[in-house]
Amino acid sequence: MYTALSAPLVIGFDYTRSLGPVLGRFMTGLRDRRVLGSRTADGRIHVPPLEYDPATHAPVTELVDVQPTGTVAGWTWTDRPLDGQPLDRPFGWALIRLDGADTALLHAVDAGSRDRMRTGMRVRIRWAAERTGNIRDIECFEPGVGQAPEQEIGGDPVTIMTAPIRLAYTHTTSDEESRYLRALAEGRLLGQRCPVCRKVYVPPRVCPADGVPTEEEVTVRDHGTVTTFCVVNVPFAGQRLEPPYVVAQILLDGADIPIPHLILGLPADQVRMGMRVAAVWRDRETWTYTPENIAHFRPLDEPDAPYESYEDHL
């Protein structure tokens, strides 16, 4: 039995939020050290503001100022803040009803210790030193009331808010994929045959057609036939190769499903359906658990495969 392989996978993007008329005014207010709430038809003031009245479904148009001070309506304490949370030291998570608002806002209270937190405590906003029209313009709340800092009108209305999102995963391979990757690290291409349909899958996987694990191991050759392909001319975010390049579907000799890989060693406009190709392996000392051990495929000095030999794999 092989042990599974695992590796980190981090996905990140700086999303750009179009705020629209209501949230745009709210974020503009934060930049200017103002907090705005929205008034719904029942007279209640919501902070953060709602864009649509949950009872009447009408657009909410009236925004009113509320105070930068408020009362803790409920709380919990975190001893070990996570990356990306408002504070990097222990703090209270609190539902805070700002003076003038009817709903509570979830935010951090920099109380120093759990003992200083209580329901009903009075808190005030600590504004971020640099404000851009973002929910992070409220750095956190702190105990006390005191004098509210002056509002500062800071320029054009805010219409977009950048929201950086990072997702960190540990990607773990299946048993079938692990076998395939360990064989690749030894310079072999390993497939497995489905016990029901008898098709050879490279990489191996639970047979998608029959829903059963593949078991019988089959070593396939590192030669194959280009079934079809794309010439990638377009650059895009996150791309790891310089266009133009050819990505082909390659039906390895002995396999029943093609793998995608690069074709190099001839001009892109000379790549053909049916072309016979061979894997070009990187230097052995660089091999690891990845199909990137094969740098690309190159043309073989063989006649093209007849269309009929691969037409059922398109």
Partner: protein, 384 residues
Amino acid sequence: MRRAAVLGTGQTHHRTRRTDVSMAGLCREAIDRALADAGVDWPEIDAVVLGKAPDLFEGVMMPELFLADALGASGRPLLRVHTAGSVGGATANVATTLIRAGVHRRVLAVAFEKQSESNAMWALSIQPPFTAPIGAGAGGYFAPHIRSYIRRSHAPGHIGSLVAVKDRRNGALNPYAHLRQPGITLESVQASPMLWDPIRYDETCPSSDGACAVVIGDESAAEASERPVAWIRATAMRTEPTFFAGKDHVNPRAGAEAAQALWKAAGITDPLEEVDAAEIYVPFSWFEPMWLENLGFTEAGHGWKLTESGETRIGGKLPVNPSGGVLCSNPIGASGMLRFAEAAMQVMGRAGDHQVPGARVALGHAYGGGSQFFSMWVVAAEPR
């Protein structure tokens, strides 16, 4: 089975960036138009069904949570549908099923995408560990299968460009379309850059912000409507794995089986003769002939002949994408529902300048994933 009908449709003005509205505002622009078109108000809506493509496109997990108020879901059932690019169609079909099951009298279905909040090409090219870095977005995925179609059908190389010219000119007739290019020509399309050979720039869909909504009602709601409705004659959905040995990427089995089931349920024996207009999910122009075959409008290998003959233009035997289709507007999650809504608009006689004269029966079609999910419906001016 109980009858169901489209009472009204609504859509946004689709643009590269709708930075004037939030996701909620985008949805409401379509919803408010659909309610007005249907002549109904919020108290008459019994349930809401929401569809959109993968959450990575906006980076909001389960947007139905924060959108619930804006979608009018307070106090009502709210369902979320996920079937990649076909989701707009699947969402309309789920709403139809709620009506046909007798659960509700009127259901609001809405679908959206706000592509400007991120980059779909990036989101579709995530590189997991232990794989080779060769993904190149949806174009990189579908271009090889288009090449296979051209080889298999012996279609002339300009067919994809003909579709692009037709759809972009149709889009110029549609006030909501993102791309409106009345002056486009075969020469200008063929002069545009080759992005994912054999797909040219002008043969690919734009990246759009947009939303679509439909109000679906039962027979009594349809009869209470003061305006013409679109009777839903049949719906169908089928799925297959993205990859399996022997998968036909050109003519996928799930699409063909869904179409066969759809025509049978609709009582249609000769689709080309009996369907007056078709809104087919064509994100890359070559998919028009491919789906014409997969849907059974022509035999395999002959779809391009219908395109080449001009019979898929407005005024032809089977106008395809009179709205301009996905090639003119592609808010991904909404694109399927736009096909369904535009089909309904045709048989309701409310398609404006892109109306197919006398359209009585129309197809709405969507696909998603790696030609994995298929959803479709047939709507008609008469219940049967």
